[in-house]
Symmetry: C2
DNA sequence: CTGAAAGCGCTTACAG
DNA sequence: CTGAAAGCGCTTACAG
């Protein structure tokens, strides 16, 4: 492989001059610069990443930690990953993707080895066991998801409280008085998926304030369990006129369930989900939803991370906790409750 | 950060001895080895990846190139990525994920910089423009997807010809004589997504051999276009009693379309898709299918790649082209055609 | 069994 | 404006 010594020799200059001519970090005569650049191009020179990282202490790589739990829903994850990967690339960084089930161990190894300049954590739990490791690391970190303790990291998440309120207010205004909220599997909550509570509690409070009966329930996130669960819930609460879904897999399962019960939205049942527009389009989900903005969250996390890596923000600048406002995307699946129900 | 010099000093030995004690690459007295290992553990030593890569010419990283075209279907990609990432981790390699739209350029930069020891290409087109770059690289490459020219790389793919035949034979045996095959968008074919032709041509041949009328059509891969397209096809061929789907997004859209037409599978229409079981479970797709085995393909590609990287296979060992046999997964969506149709 | 030294390919003060 | 040299943190022949 051609290295900078080859370039220097071919251009008839010292290796340092070749390096400077290529990086522009000190002035070089126009003639020499042009010659070095031409030679580098001709010989197809690409700097050795390990050597550069060793010399500069900069790897130009961002670590992306995604956890894939057995009851997690991988397709929804893809959009966060793409948001992160695309933003990183635009900023000049490559992505090291870790799906190691032992997050803390992998995180320690990867940060300690200096393979990466910064870390993005996806799927952050309330009391995430990767956080102590990340705080101890010398690289900055950005999270998608809200932990209890946000010290030392930048945090980005959907405003799930507001999402819960928006869902409720929307259906209240249409005249609904009994609703079902379907959340993620209980496992997700037990692992510390706080967003489940955040949305649910806000929804319950809003319901109480308006005198709405809200049945809050967990649901599995894979077939055939989801379908059964949705049927059970609809059987258990025949008076409910609206369904709120904080569970992407349940949203994906709903069309079939409605079909099986011969129900239509919004004629028989109003439905609001919480997922991305991309997701709705991919899976042909006809339900109005709260946009979960995975691409935007991924982008925000990387942008802030890059700012810290490149010290465009003072070393001691306070860490941010930023919420994306939920946006209601109307796909026509909500209406006034049917007259023959109360 | 603690480096090997710190370990050596703390253990009272030379850096080379510390290195050997940790790597086991030459014999070290039990006492010294134990001491070095203890110190390394206590001080939380992790080797600097850049320095090690520079010294050994091994990065312990595999590059994973996934292309996300506008009309590609990201969720299906996630499973290939997971198959690759998990297998790589088990073999001791990290994953560098590239989603750069300019594949050839990114591939050249990443291989030339020696950041990676090998490359996995996903989404390989017939005449993939990343292949010349990969062949010129000094690292080995493994593909998921079959190009026209397989020289110099190991290739893994589903046997799409056989998949087409299996679909047809299955419905022929049940008595069907007029079918519709829904493929990927025409763009995918134009880009060289050869698997579309491979399945379709084999299906057409099998149909001809049995005197079956097979209507082969392209379909978009996002809403609302897919839904319309499926309706149009069902309108255009009212005599068709079976639907074959070589398009994940169309499969995801079908339940809603069937609902809108008040049709059920298999009572009114037999349906066979081509996607993974994981996909079917995630999206509650009730259709029988040809298993696309993304995790298995990803695993095979990485295993072979690692064998080449680690020279467990002779330098000049012939490159392999391996097809995974399609497996029919019965979810009960096929039956004899309804009596009131012919 | 162990140590001193060279070398991997860069970047960047230090000199001139 | 340019060059010679040191140094980043490893590994691995070379000596003993």
């Amino acid at each position: 492989m051609v290295n900078i010594g080859d370039i220097a020799r071919a251009a008839g200059v010292a290796r340092s001059t070749a390096s400077y001519a290529l990086s522009g970090k000190r002035s070089v005569s126009d003639e020499v610069r042009a010659r070095v650049q031409r030679v580098a191009l001709e010989m197809g020179y690409t700097p050795n990443a390990g050597a550069r990282a060793l010399a500069t202490s900069k790897a130009m790589v961002i670590a992306l930690f995604a956890q894939f739990m057995p009851d997690e829903f991988p397709p929804a994850m893809m959009q966060y990953i793409l948001g992160v990967a695309n933003t990183a690339r635009d900023a000049g960084y490559d992505i090291l993707l870790s799906s190691d089930p032992d997050g803390p161990k992998a995180l320690k190894r990867i940060t300690d080895s200096r393979m990466v300049d910064g870390v993005v954590l996806l799927n952050v739990a309330e009391d995430d066991d990767r956080l102590p490791v990340l705080r101890a690391a010398s690289q900055p970190g950005a999270l998608v998801g809200l932990p209890v303790d946000c010290t030392g990291v930048d945090v980005f998440d959907l405003d799930f409280e507001e999402a819960g309120r928006v869902m409720l207010e929307h259906l209240y205004a249409l005249g609904h008085r009994e609703l079902i909220l379907v959340s993620q599997p209980e496992h997700v909550v037990e692992r510390g998926g706080a967003y489940v509570w955040r949305l649910q509690n806000a929804a319950l409070e809003t319901a109480a304030a308006h005198g709405i009966t809200l049945h809050a329930a967990f649901s599995p996130s894979a077939q055939p369990e989801i379908g059964r669960r949705l049927h059970d819930l609809l059987d258990a609460y025949p008076g409910a006129t609206g369904l709120l879904l904080n569970n992407e897999a349940a949203a994906a399962a709903l069309p079939t369930v409605l079909h099986e019960r011969n129900l239509s939205a919004p004629e028989d049942l109003s439905v609001i989900g919480r997922y991305s527009d991309e997701f709705a389009r991919s899976f042909s989900l006809p339900f109005s939803s709260i946009e979960s903005a995975p691409d935007r969250l991924g982008r925000m996390a990387v942008r802030q991370l890059v700012r810290r890596i490149e010290k465009q923000v003072p070393e001691d600048a306070p860490h941010v906790v930023r919420f994306v406002s939920p946006e209601f995307v109307d796909r026509g699946s909500t209406a006034a409750p049917p007259r023959d129900r109360h």
